[in-house]
Symmetry: C2
């Protein structure tokens, strides 16, 4: 079944939208958050736990899976879904952002990116055709085009050159794609320059992708700039295609993105924070190792319906964290991922009931601006 | 409900027994293996996973829980069962063995053991009365007496002195015990000297405990000596009380212990091995990082009914282990714990069907003596 996006409802006061993506491995209600499963696992979580937290789609990192265990092995093992025991939708990135993050270890040419593996130093060359080949071997439901992620800061000239390369590669990715079951999204670059972002939209959208992402955000630029890009550029994207704000963000960022008309998000914040004992709650962000939780028999968050909150006290979670127990990471991750996915459920419910702006304001006021 | 042990059946060719312990938190079928939950968690496992692996009882370490988070906090939080979300039976050791393991950090007197915490160096004094107080605060179903674990090697004179101290402490523990809901086991010491082991039995049994343990085994002595102790001393223990071989062992050790009339075992081997990627199977012990599993789409063990074997390939488990993912420890631990608990189920079934010796021989032949 080919990829499909249905725009179900538009908010009456903001640019927010309620939608539904249909993929080869099932349905994703939007706005959606994708927990990050970098190396073929959302760190510390069983697939059943991810699903129980309300996830309908997860993200896999092409760069990591290409290097280890290798896309060919995953293909032989029956594809990524089977390999990792996650039968629901998966989006894979193109590897562009990870390669960009390698800094001195990579070199960009007109044809692709030469880089050294962070694992063993081995040399690799990723081209637009190659990243499609890899993602087709992985069998993800949504593939991303290879892009050049413009660094922050970058001059207007560099940024323009970069977005033009990204658009050229997008065209090559589209042509390389063989499998109709897998969707392919284009990526809008243009750094912090709104006119260059606009140029990127104009060069990317006519190529005709199944969805569009805003890339090169959350790379160190001030938050106001990221917000300005989301606010100005999202409405330029086709209304009937899903829009994805890559690598974003905090709960507040997600609410902002949704109000701009973004449909999809991914971020390591819930999972990484959990492993560091930073836990999201209805009232505050908790540092679980804090001595004030030593004899606290309450759950992390009285309003939370996650497995962790239903079965364990803050005192126990503090003990596990301080004792450096693996179960600390397991239970903390379940909670934070559920927190994010419950937020998405609440957003969708608010959109459905025509009260998104009220929900957003209530949420931001409750958090006291944290 | 007070503790009860029912001897259900005696094997016709060995000293093996089928039994049932009834505790305040439920029933334990024997011979039983207790997964080790040192710091209030069987490392990397959710309580539901422990239960699904077939565990009816787990072990908690008094030494660790006393130091962190502290038995008084656990008591305030509703006791150990509630704190760790494990409503089934728990046995706690006395802390004696852990203190013994501290070596230069502890000093033994006639009244108890003075030691420095391995966490922060703070000074502590454990007496027979104190370890009962701690275990009553934890609320375990089976408590252990404070013993002095004789080192290996030790002279006959040292060993004799040590077992006499252990017997004296056992008497003090018995007197200190206030709670009728909790059982208390005595510990037989005597090192590698069978006549001293016999003396220890003669000094301990008349005190009248709910069960008896063989302590001071698996402390570095040759395996033949441990086997000789189990074989000679177990039959001297009261038939109508459970017998516990502390800290033992490999699957082969357990089969040997059962054939000597042992009812209970605990050991970190399944959990610790799992975290190091050493996995028990029907055929061999697998080192999962081995390159031969790179493209192996089979489960760890075709005959295993655990969650890991039902859902994941060796290739995926190898990938997770090499990528240093937390999920590697989670999935490996589930498998090894299930392996041990399935072995206990098979032992009990064989005893029930009067074919224990056949089962034992088949098992040992299949393993090729590993």
């Amino acid at each position: 079944m080919p990829f499909q996006f249905d725009l179900l409802k538009k908010d009456h006061t903001t640019a927010a939208r309620l939608g539904k993506m249909t993929t080869a491995h099932g349905i994703v209600n939007t706005p959606a958050f994708m927990p990050v499963g970098t190396q073929g696992t959302v760190k510390s979580m069983l697939p059943e736990e991810i699903k129980n937290c309300g996830a309908q789609i997860i993200l896999g990192n092409t760069y990591h899976l290409y290097l280890r265990p290798g896309h060919e092995i995953i293909k032989k093992m029956g594809g990524l879904h089977k390999f990792i025991n996650w039968p629901q939708p998966i989006l894979t990135d193109s590897g562009g952002f990870q390669v960009y993050s390698l800094g001195a270890l990579r070199k960009i040419t007109a044809d692709g990116v030469m880089f050294n593996s962070h694992i063993d130093g081995s040399k690799h060359f990723l081209t637009p055709q190659k990243v499609i080949e890899i993602q087709e071997a992985l069998g993800s439901d949504i593939m991303m085009c290879l892009d050049e992620c413009t660094p922050y800061p970058a001059s207007e000239k560099e940024t323009k050159k970069s977005l033009e390369l990204t658009a050229k590669w997008a065209n090559l990715c589209k042509k390389a794609k063989k499998n109709d079951e897998q969707a392919l999204f284009g990526i809008v670059q243009g750094g912090t320059y709104l006119d260059l972002r606009k140029q990127s939209v104009e060069e990317t959208v006519p190529l005709g992708f199944d969805g569009y992402a805003l890339g090169g955000v959350s790379v160190g630029e001030p938050k106001e700039i990221m917000y300005a890009i989301a606010e100005s550029i999202t409405p330029m994207l086709p209304e009937n295609k899903p829009r994805y704000l890559m690598g974003v963000g905090t709960p507040e960022d997600i609410l902002f993105g949704v109000s701009c008309g973004i449909d999809m998000f991914d971020c390591v914040i819930p999972t990484r924070s959990a492993r560091h004992g930073l836990l999201f709650t209805n009232k505050e962000k908790i540092v679980i190792k804090n001595a004030r939780f030593r004899e606290d028999n309450a759950p992390l968050d009285e309003t939370c319906d996650c497995y962790t909150c239903k079965n364990y006290s803050r005192a126990y979670l503090r003990h596990l964290y301080i004792a450096n127990e693996i179960l600390a990471m397991v239970l903390n991750t379940i909670h934070n991922v559920r927190y994010y996915l419950r937020l998405m459920e609440q957003i969708r419910e608010a959109l459905d009931k025509n009260r998104f702006i009220e929900f957003k304001n209530e949420f931001l006021n409750k958090k006291g601006g944290t």
